[in-house]
Amino acid sequence: MTTTQTKPSTRRPDGHQPVRPHGTTPLYKRERPLWMLLPGGLLMLAIIVVPLLVGFFIAMLDLDQYTLRQWFSAPFVGFANFTEAVTNSPLLHSIWISVSLAVLVTAVTVPIGVAAAISTQNRFRGRGLVRSVYLIPYVLPAFVVGTFFRTMLQPQGVVNSVLHTDVLWLNGSASYWALAGVMVWTSWPFVYLLSLAGLQAVDLEVHEAASLDGATWWIKLRDVVFPYLRGPLSLAVIIAILHNINNFTLPFVLFGIPLPSSVEVMPVLTYIASFQSFRFGLSAAMAICSLVIVAIPLFVYLRAVQLDTGDDAGPNRKQRRADRAVLAAPAAADVEGARA
C-alpha cells in the first residue's frame, strides 16, 4: 500500500515521461551548472540594462558637460526635456524622415530581393558566383559603403558627370533621395536571403502540379510561388523597417555632421544633441521618444518569435518545425544590427 502511494510521482499524467527508478531526479534538474549564466548575464545587466535605466533617469535631468561627472546632483526637471523634445526641437521632423525613409526603402527592396532570389533558384553555370556577387553590398561594412558613395555623389563626382546633371546630392532636398538610394543598395540582399529560404520551401510536387496544369510563368509566380513567400517576406519587412529606422552609420558617414535638414534622422539627431550640443538630458529624452516609435515593429517581431519549444519532453515534429522557423528571425535581425 505504501509503495503504490510513493510511486505515482515518477510517472507524469500525460505519459510522455518514462518511468524512472524511485528517488532519481530527471536529467534536466540534476547538477545544473547555473553558474555558467553568470558572466554573460552580469555583463548584459551592467552594460545594457543598467545604462537603460540610467538613460530613463538622465532624461529627467538638466544635464550638460559640466554636471556630467556628478550626474546624480544635476537639477531634476521632470518631463521638461520631453516637452522640449516634442514642442521645440527637430524631433518630430526627424521621426517623419526616419519612418518615411524606412518604409520607402523597405518597399523598394522587396521586389529587388524577390527577383534576385527567383533568378538564382535553378542551377546554371556560374550560379555560385552570382550568389556571392549578390551578397557583396551586404558584406561591405556600412562605413565603407558610405565613404565611396560620398565620393561618387560629390558635386563634381562621377554620378553627376555620368548623368550630365548638376545636382547637389549631399546638400539640400536631393540628399533625401541620395540616402534612400544608398540604403536600398546596401539592404536589399537581406530580403533576398529570406526570400531564398522561402522559395526552397515550395514543394517539388507543387511545381509539378503547376506545370502539369500548363501554368505560364507569370501565373505560376503569382498564384503558386508568391503565397509561399508571404511569411518570410513579412518577417523580412518588419526586421528591415526596424533596422532602417535605427541606421546611424550610413547617414553619419555619407553626409557628416551637421546633417542637411532633409536627412536629419532620429539616431543622428540624438547623437548630435549629446555630443555636439552637449544637451545630455534632452538627448536622452529624444532617445526614449524614438524607442517608442521603434517599439511598434519591435512588438510585432517579438510576438512572431516563439520562445520555448518544449525540448524537455523531446520536441515533436511540429515543434521542431516551429523551432526552425524561429531560427531565421533573430539571426537575420542582428546581422542588420551589426551593420547599423
Binding site: P33, N160, E208, W217, L307, A332, A333
Partner: protein, 316 residues
C-alpha cells in the same frame, strides 16, 4: 540527414524525370535541377541577373578603379582611370594611422569574437538543456536586448563608464578595454541566440550516454557539446567580430587617437583632408578597400555557414 533526403527525394525525382526526360534512366536528378521548378523564361532570367549584377558592380568597380587613379582624376568625376597608379596604396599608411587602426580593430573585434563565442556556448547550453526559474525570461530578454538601438545606450554607457572612472580611478573611456567590454556585451544576446537555436538541433542521446558514464555537466559541455557545435560557434564568433569591426557609433566617442578603430580612421581620412586644395579621394578608395578586405575574406571563407546560419531552414 543524407538518409532523410534520399528517401524523400527518390520517388519525386523519378516522377520528375518521367515528365521532363521520357528517355529517363540516367542518374537521379536532385530537385531544383529540373526544368519543372524553373520560374522565369530564359530571356527574363538573363535580364534580371544582368541588371542586378550591374547594379552591384558599377559602384563596387568604382572603388577599385578609384583606388588606382589619381586624386585629381577621381575628383573630376572619372569612372575609368586615365592613368594607372598604385601610389594610393603606399600613401595611405603615412597619411593617417591606418596601420594602428587595423591593429586596434583586429585586437578588439578578434577578442570580442573569441570571448562572445565562449560565453554564448556555455550560456546557451544551460538555457537549452536545463530547466530553472527565469529561463523563459532570460530567453525573452535575449531577444529584446538585441533590438535596443545603440543610440539609446551610447550616452548612458558613456555616463556609467565616466562615473566608474571618477569613483575608482580606472579610466575606461578611450581604452581598448572599454570598447572590448561594450562590443562584447552588445554581441552577446545575438551570439547566445544563435547557439541556442544550434544546440536545440543537436541530439541529446550523446550527452545522456556520457552522463550515464558518469560525466559532469562541465565535462559534457567540454567533451561532447563543444566538438559538435563548431559550425554554430563559427557563425556566432564571426557575427560578433563584424559588430566590432563595423561599429562607428561607439568608436567615435569612446576612442582616443591611439585606440581608434579602422572605421574611425577612415572617417578621419575622409574629413580632415577635404579642407585642402584637392581631397585625397584616391587614397580614400584605397583605404576603403583595405577596411573591407578582412570582412569580405571572412564571408567568402565561411559563406556556407553564414548564409545557413541566417536562413537555416527558416520556413520549412
Amino acid at each position: 540527414m543524407s538518409g532523410y533526403s534520399t528517401t524523400r527525394t527518390r520517388p519525386t525525382a523519378t516522377l520528375t524525370e518521367s515528365i521532363t526526360a521520357p528517355g529517363g534512366g540516367r542518374r537521379p536528378k536532385r530537385p531544383y535541377d529540373t526544368d519543372v521548378t524553373r520560374l522565369l523564361p530564359r530571356w527574363l532570367l538573363v535580364t534580371v541577373i544582368a541588371v542586378i549584377v550591374a547594379f552591384i558592380a558599377v559602384p563596387v568597380l568604382y572603388i577599385v578603379f578609384g583606388s588606382v587613379n589619381s586624386d585629381v582624376a577621381v575628383a573630376r568625376g572619372e569612372y575609368f582611370p586615365s592613368e594607372f597608379t598604385l601610389a594610393n596604396y603606399a600613401d595611405i599608411w603615412s597619411t593617417v594611422a591606418l596601420g594602428q587602426g587595423l591593429v586596434n580593430s583586429i585586437l578588439t573585434a578578434g577578442a570580442v569574437a573569441v570571448c562572445s563565442a565562449a560565453l554564448a556556448v556555455s550560456t546557451a547550453y544551460v538555457l537549452v538543456r536545463f530547466r530553472f526559474l527565469g529561463r523563459l525570461t532570460f530567453l525573452r530578454g535575449l531577444l529584446a536586448l538585441q533590438s535596443i538601438p545603440g543610440t539609446l545606450l551610447l550616452l548612458p554607457v558613456f555616463v556609467v563608464f565616466a562615473n566608474i572612472a571618477s569613483a575608482t580611478g580606472v579610466q575606461i573611456i578611450g581604452t581598448r578595454w572599454g570598447l572590448f567590454v561594450t562590443y562584447l556585451t552588445f554581441a552577446l544576446p545575438f551570439s547566445t541566440w544563435v547557439m541556442v537555436t544550434y544546440l536545440r538541433g543537436l541530439p541529446k542521446e550523446l550527452e545522456e550516454a556520457a552522463r550515464i558514464d558518469g560525466a559532469s555537466s562541465t565535462g559534457i559541455l567540454m567533451k561532447i557539446v563543444l566538438p559538435l557545435s563548431w559550425p554554430g560557434i563559427v557563425v556566432s564568433a564571426i557575427f560578433a567580430f563584424l559588430l566590432g569591426w563595423n561599429d562607428v557609433l561607439f568608436s567615435t566617442i569612446m576612442t582616443t587617437p591611439n585606440t581608434r578603430t579602422v572605421a574611425v580612421v577612415l572617417q578621419v581620412l575622409g574629413t580632415t583632408q577635404e579642407g585642402g586644395a584637392v581631397p585625397i579621394y584616391g587614397q580614400m578608395m584605397a583605404a576603403s578597400i583595405v577596411c573591407a578586405l578582412p570582412v569580405v575574406a571572412l564571408y567568402l571563407v565561411f559563406q556556407r555557414y553564414l548564409v545557413g546560419g541566417l536562413t537555416a531552414g527558416s520556413v520549412k
